[in-house]
């Protein structure tokens, strides 16, 4: 059992959990992820390690509610626990001095770039972060990134905060303005990463994307996480999760991510309609959300 020590909402649908997992914390490097199983009978899902504290033996997970399992995770409070947390998994980010490194995070993808920022800074880079969300309340970790970056540019789709527009548009402007961008590291929704690869390709800028395919074991045993990179089959959990964005087959990744859409909808409905546990979780979600948003409707 892995105890949740702190829990708080960052946005109406994004929660930060501080989890006690000393073994994971001690070996964590930027780019690593864990696989968690919330409870007996639960599914195994991959989550980025957003931060770790070796002395305290804790890791930080930042989770967006997108389905039944993430909803159950986000319903956890301090003092409650997660059945299984295994990791750190995957290959760590290859940290180099690129001169000027730009990190681009979309939504909870910002949790992936956050630990990279500090490591890139330490390697001598000038570090810029471009982070996006639908509107102001969906932009996360701005202050935290600020501590490790030379500049942070928040972007919102609706213009309610920061740059009005997509992170990709802001990135393009930045590349053209500065002309010194040595590498771009990105994590976020697949369409965003795909578009971003399109932005950097003409400039020939090295671009690394952190992929998020469906996973089961996370140790290379099942092949469920396979992605096509440069025409070759790769297992994201052991060969990645970071790959050269210019050679990733994003269309295939998008398609494969939809494999269990029907079952996910079923599970979601079940959680919300049919079971007592589901009703309780929903109730609790509402309370927590209200606490986080000060009662504002979502």
């Amino acid at each position: 059992m892995f105890t949740v020590q702190e829990a708080q909402w960052l946005t109406p649908k994004v929660r930060r959990l501080l989890v006690r997992a000393p073994r994971v914390a001690r070996s964590h490097r930027p780019g690593h992820f864990v696989i968690v199983r919330v409870h007996e009978g639960g599914e195994r899902i991959p989550l980025t390690i957003a931060n770790s504290d070796n002395e305290a033996g804790t890791i930080t997970l930042i989770i967006q509610v997108v389905g039944a399992t993430t909803e159950k995770l986000c319903a956890l409070d301090a003092g409650e626990s997660i059945a299984n947390v295994v990791g750190p998994l995957g290959r760590p980010t290859e940290i180099e001095n690129f001169g000027h490194a730009v990190l681009v995070g979309g939504g909870v993808g910002t949790a992936v770039i956050y630990p990279q920022a500090g490591a890139l800074r330490a390697a001598g880079n000038r570090v810029t972060a471009i982070i996006g969300g639908r509107s102001r309340e969906y932009v996360i970790l701005e202050a935290e990134l600020g501590a490790h970056c030379d500049e942070v540019f928040p972007c919102t789709d609706d213009g309610s905060y920061g740059y009005h527009g997509f992170v990709t548009a802001r990135l393009k402007e930045l590349i053209e303005e500065r002309r010194d961008v040595g590498a771009v590291l990105t994590a976020g929704p697949v369409p965003m990463m795909r578009a971003l690869a399109g932005v950097t390709r003409p400039f020939g800028i090295k671009t690394i994307a952190s992929l998020n395919p469906v996973m089961v074991d996370g140790t290379g045993m099942c092949g469920g996480c396979r992605v096509t990179v440069d025409g070759k089959m790769k297992f994201a959990c052991v060969d990645g999760p970071e790959f050269d964005a210019h050679t990733v087959d994003f269309a295939e990744l998008t398609d494969r991510l939809s494999t269990y859409r029907d079952q996910e909808a079923l599970a979601w409905n079940r959680l919300h309609e049919f079971t007592e546990a589901g009703a309780a979780a929903r109730c609790k979600m509402r309370e927590l959300e209200e606490a986080a948003t000060g009662g504002r409707p979502l």
């Binding site: 009978g41 639960g42 599914e43 299984n84 140790t219 045993m221 089959m233 052991v238």
Partner: protein, 482 residues
Amino acid sequence: MAALKPSERMKIPRQPMPEQEPAQRAANFQEVNCGYSAEAASTEACRCLQCKDAKCVGGCPVNIDIPGFVDALADGDLSRAADILFADNVLPGITGRVCPQETQCEAVCVRAKKGTPVGIGYMERFVADWARQHRKDLFEPPTPTGFRVAVVGSGPGGLTCAGELAKRGHAVTVFEALHIPGGVLVYGIPEFRLPKAIVHAEVETLRRRGVEIVTDVVIGQTYTIHELMKGEGYHAVFVANGAGLPVFQGIPGENLKGVYSANEFLTRVNLMGAYRFGETDTPVIKASQIVVVGGGNTAMDSVRTARRLGASPATLVYRRSREEMPARVEEVKHAEEEGVVFRMLCNPLEVLGDDKGWVSGVRCIRMELGDPDASGRRRPVPIPGSEFEIPCQVFIEAIGTKANPLLTQTTPGLQTNKWGNIVVDDNNMTSIPGVFAGGDIVRGGATVILAMGDGKHAAAAIHQYLTTGCSGNGRAKLNAVP
């Protein structure tokens, strides 16, 4: 029973294994074989001729005293039978169910020459099940030696080694990557062939004997082998992390939705309980028609699992003929009875998909057997122009696995062969002193009993290494003393 003359023993027919009816079992996940009754078991035991030079013992990879336990069973002394059995094999309830007896002990039984061999596997299972229900674990805790050993992987190899080391008084910690111990026994082999309760009971026995099992730890990621031996203070390590990565054929269409490796399909269904989706949260794609490619136990388990999830037809495609299938004979028979369609001598060329990216079928080509290849089996060659299609919504590849590089890559100095399997000496010791290995990571995809044999052999070598400072060949000196 000893009074029976050989001629009388010869007259007794082999006792059949009671089974669930095919039509019934093809729709559930309960065990197919129901196990011998006490009467059937003792009757079967009387068929054994108690050969002086019993060939069956040599046919068993862990050399169980087969005539010994069978004689005790014939005498009705189940307790003695269990003692004899457990002395050589710590997991008989498992091997009695999954060993390929027909190529091992039963293959060399004298009675096989004229008629049917003695049902050694069935009796092994009977005695093990009896012991699990009726016997307390009479375990005398040994004097602790002060040595600590880490075991990587909780499959049959790791569990056996851990049990043997604990018996000798060493403190053992098993590190397992998954959330449940058992390796292939829990994620691969289905419930209907090996009930998980049996594996869990065996694991509990080990725990009671003082073996510490830590799940959710991936060696090579959470700790390296080097860290285990230096920082964490283990005096020796046994690596039994299994075969690992699934092999894909490399044909077009393999990334369509609906293509699974057998490992993924079986893990979803067995380990994650997808066949009870609703009670559990892990989904698996439901299909009315499925095709599995392969001829081993993994292929057979996949196709029979798919059948139980409702596929009709569930088709098995294999590029050689039925005689060459490496699967256990009983599994092939059971699959056929359950209505699995066998398409022998054909090979998939391409997975076909619809416009939404879902599997819609598989295009195959017929094969014929040509000259023998390196393995001595006749090589299948495609017949030009014989292509045909099988419609299906799920396509499962069960054509083998290759060594998982996760651990070996992070262990400098650990010698592997060109396939990535760990190289060991006669004592199962690797190129790193104090680090031993066995099971599928050394042998490539092998069997439960061979992995157990390695675990047992390695435990003896580790014991010697710890207590004398060198392994059997005197190569390595142990520098740490507790």
